[in-house]
C-alpha cells in the first residue's frame, strides 16, 4: 500500500494526465457533481457521488456505429470505428465499479460489442472508498463493500492523506508511475477507516434490505403479482430511472441522414417508454404497469437468471433520489418481495 498527502493530489492528477485523459468527480457551479476532464487546478469533489453515473465512459448516451454512403442503387459501408485512447476514471464508488461488471455481462458476452470492449480495454478505474454513505445507499444488499471498492486501483481518503492499492496489472503499472509522489505505508489507517465504514453501513436505513426473495426462477411467482399495478400507478413513463441507472443498458439503433450520407448511431433507450416494444404488428406491453414490471423483473429476476445470479442493480441509490414520483427498486423489493425482505 502507498500513500500521498491530500495536498499533493494536483501533482498526482498532473502525473496521471500526462499519459491519459483523466476524469474525476468535480463540483459544478450548480453545486452538483459530475465527472469532468481534469485540467490543472480542478479539485476532487467531496460529495458522495456524481449525479449521473459513469456508464457513459464505456457506453455513451449516443455513439455512431457505422456510416453509409448511397449513390443510385449502391451503398458503401464505412467503418468509422477508431481505436480508443487510454483514459483514467478517478474516484469511482464501489457501487459504480460493480456496475461495470454488470455491463460487461451484456456487452462482452459473445458476440462481443467492439465499441464497448475497446473502451473497457483502454479504461483504468481508480475506485474510492465511501467514507460517508447516505440514506439512499444500499450497495451492501448486493454484496458490495463500500469500504473496499474493486477497480484497477482502490483508494481511501482521510482528512489529510490518500492511500493507494493496486488490484490489477493495469493498476499496478499506473501506480508505479506515481512512485515519486507516493510512499510505501502500512495498512493501519485504511484498516481503521474500513472498520468505521462498516459501522456506518450498519446504521443506514436500508441496511437490512436483502435479495433473498429474488433471483433466478422467480418469474412465475412475481409476474402476475397484483402489487405491480399499485406500484406503477403514478409512473410517468419517463426515462429518468433508466438513464441515471449505472446498469441500465438497453439501447436503440437509429439512422440519421446528414444530407451527405447516413450515420447509424445507437443511443440509450428506456423500457419505460411506450414505443420500446412497439411493432407495426402489435405491442406486447400495452400499459405502463407492464413496462414498469419489465424494468424490475429484469433487474431482480431475468438478469440473475441469465448471469449466474448476478443482479443488475448495485444499490447506488440514484433512482431513489431522482425519480419524479419517488418510486424505485427499494419500494418494489419491499412490496413484491414481502415485508420480511426489509
Amino acid at each position: 500500500m502507498r500513500k500521498c498527502s491530500l495536498d499533493s493530489m494536483n501533482l498526482v492528477f498532473a502525473e496521471i494526465a500526462k499519459a491519459a485523459s483523466l476524469y474525476l468527480p468535480v463540483d459544478g457551479k450548480d453545486g452538483k457533481t459530475a465527472y469532468t476532464k481534469w485540467e490543472d487546478g480542478l479539485t476532487w469533489s467531496n460529495s458522495l457521488n456524481t449525479v449521473r453515473g459513469p456508464k457513459d465512459f464505456f457506453f455513451p448516451q449516443t455513439e455512431n456505429l457505422v456510416e453509409f454512403k448511397t449513390s443510385g442503387k449502391n451503398i458503401e459501408i464505412i467503418d468509422t470505428r477508431s481505436a480508443s485512447e487510454d483514459f483514467v476514471v478517478f474516484g469511482v464508488r464501489a457501487c459504480d465499479v460493480k456496475s461495470f461488471d454488470v455491463l460487461d455481462r451484456v456487452f462482452l458476452k459473445e458476440p462481443t460489442d467492439s465499441y464497448y470492449a475497446s473502451r473497457r480495454e483502454h479504461g483504468i478505474i481508480i475506485a474510492a472508498a465511501c467514507t460517508k454513505p447516505t440514506e439512499t445507499c444500499f450497495c451492501q444488499t448486493f454484496g458490495i463493500d463500500a469500504a473496499a471498492p474493486a477497480g484497477d486501483i482502490s483508494i481511501w481518503k482521510t482528512e489529510t492523506e490518500v492511500f493507494w492499492q493496486s488490484n490489477t496489472e493495469k493498476g499496478a503499472a499506473l501506480l508505479t508511475k506515481l512512485d515519486a509522489l507516493t510512499e510505501e505505508c502500512s495498512t493501519e489507517a485504511v484498516d481503521a477507516q474500513k472498520e468505521k465504514i462498516a459501522a456506518t453501513m450498519k446504521k443506514l436505513p436500508l441496511a437490512n434490505l436483502n435479495t433473498d426473495a429474488f433471483g433466478a426462477g422467480k418469474t412465475k411467482e412475481y409476474f402476475d403479482a397484483p402489487e405491480w399495478k399499485e406500484l406503477s400507478e403514478s409512473c410517468l413513463g419517463c426515462g429518468t430511472c433508466t438513464f441515471v441507472c449505472p446498469t441500465c443498458q438497453c439501447y436503440d439503433i437509429k439512422d440519421f441522414n446528414t444530407g451527405k450520407g447516413v450515420i447509424r448511431f445507437r443511443c440509450w433507450d428506456s423500457c419505460m417508454y411506450s414505443d420500446f416494444t412497439k411493432m407495426s404488428a402489435g405491442q406486447p406491453r400495452l400499459t405502463q404497469t407492464e413496462r414498469f414490471r419489465q424494468r424490475f423483473m429484469h433487474k431482480l429476476v431475468y438478469f440473475p437468471e441469465n448471469n449466474d445470479g448476478m443482479f443488475s442493480c448495485v444499490g447506488c441509490g440514484r433512482c431513489l433520489a431522482k425519480c419524479p414520483i419517488s418510486m424505485n427498486i427499494v419500494k418494489v423489493m419491499k412490496t413484491i418481495g414481502g415485508k420480511e425482505n426489509a
Binding site: V66, S114, R264, S280, E290, H298, N306
Partner: protein
C-alpha cells in the same frame, strides 16, 4: 484500426429479384455484390435487413439453407422499412447481417417424425425454409402435412410453388383454405383452426405453427383437443428487435431474448415464460 469483428456492422446485399406474391407481400432474393450467399443459416433463423436512412428490421429467412445460390425473404408491407423495400427494384443494394436466433431442430427432434406444418398468412414465410429443407432431405422425415390458410386466394403466399412443387411431392399433403368463398376457388373455405379440427390429425406428428396470434391460440386449442402434447408443438415468435444479439434489451419474454434464445420455441418451453408475447 479495429481488431474486433463488430456484429452491428452489416454487409451489403443486392436484391436480384422481386416477386409479387400477394397484394401486400413481396419476396426478395438477396445475394452479396459478388453474387454469393451472404452467410449460411439454419431453417427458422433470421437476418437483419436495412435500408440506410430508413431503418433496420428483422426478417425470417424464407429460403432453405439447401439453396446454395441465394437467400429469400417474404416481406409484408407494414412499416417504414418494409414500405421502402416494396418499392425497390432488382439491382438495389440493401444491408444484411445475421444469421440470428435458434433454428427449428430439423436434424434432431424432427428427424424421422411425421411433420404437420400449420401456417396462416405471412406466417408461411418462416416455415417455407423448414418445409423446403425437409423436402430436400425427404427420406429423413415421415409424412408431411401442410395446412395453410389466408384471407383469400390472392393472399396465399408461394401459391405457385405450393401447387407446382409441394403438392406434387410423394407423401406431402397440402391442405389449403381461405377465409371466405371466392370466385375461382374450389378448395376449402374456413379458418385455419377449424380446418385443422376438421382434418382431425393423428397425434403421431410434430406440429409446427406460425401465424397471427389469434390463429395460434385457436389452433393450439384444436391440437390439444386432438390429443397433441405441448412437447410436440413448435412455433416461432416475433418481437421488436434492434440488435439481434441479445443486448439491446427489447425483445425479451421473461428471461429469454427472442432474437437469441428464440425465435423458435416448443410450447412446453413457452409455458415456462410469462404470458407477454
Amino acid at each position: 484500426m479495429h481488431n474486433h469483428q463488430e456484429p452491428l456492422i452489416p454487409k451489403i446485399g443486392v436484391i436480384t429479384d422481386v416477386r409479387m406474391d400477394t397484394p401486400d407481400i413481396k419476396t426478395f432474393r438477396v445475394v452479396t455484390p459478388d453474387g454469393k450467399k451472404a452467410f449460411d443459416h439454419r431453417p427458422g433463423q433470421c437476418a437483419m435487413l436495412s435500408v440506410p436512412g430508413v431503418g433496420e428490421a428483422m426478417f425470417s429467412i424464407t429460403s432453405s439453407p439447401t439453396n446454395e445460390e441465394y437467400m429469400e425473404f417474404s416481406i409484408k408491407k407494414c412499416g417504414c422499412v418494409t414500405e421502402w423495400l416494396h418499392q425497390a427494384e432488382p439491382g438495389q443494394q440493401i444491408t444484411i447481417r445475421g444469421p440470428y436466433g435458434n433454428p427449428f431442430p430439423v436434424d434432431d427432434e424432427f428427424a424421422g417424425k411425421n411433420l404437420l406444418f400449420i401456417a396462416g398468412g405471412v406466417g408461411l414465410a418462416p416455415l417455407r425454409s423448414v418445409i423446403n429443407y425437409c423436402r430436400h432431405y425427404r427420406d429423413r422425415y415421415g409424412k408431411i402435412d401442410i395446412v395453410y390458410g389466408s384471407r383469400s386466394k390472392d393472399d396465399l403466399l408461394d401459391y405457385k410453388e405450393i401447387i407446382d412443387e409441394w403438392a406434387n411431392d410423394d407423401n406431402v399433403h397440402v391442405h389449403l383454405t381461405i377465409d371466405r368463398e371466392q370466385e375461382g376457388w374450389d378448395g376449402h373455405v374456413g379458418f385455419v383452426p377449424n380446418y385443422v379440427k376438421e382434418l382431425g390429425f393423428d397425434t403421431d406428428k410434430t406440429a409446427i405453427l406460425c401465424g397471427p396470434p389469434i390463429m395460434i391460440k385457436f389452433t393450439l386449442d384444436g391440437l390439444y383437443a386432438l390429443g397433441f402434447e405441448k412437447t410436440q408443438i413448435y412455433t416461432t415468435l416475433e418481437m421488436r428487435m434492434k440488435c439481434g444479439i441479445g443486448k439491446c434489451g427489447r425483445c425479451n419474454v421473461g428471461s429469454k431474448y427472442i432474437c437469441k434464445d428464440g425465435p423458435v420455441f416448443r410450447f412446453d418451453e413457452l409455458d415456462e415464460l410469462p404470458d407477454e408475447y
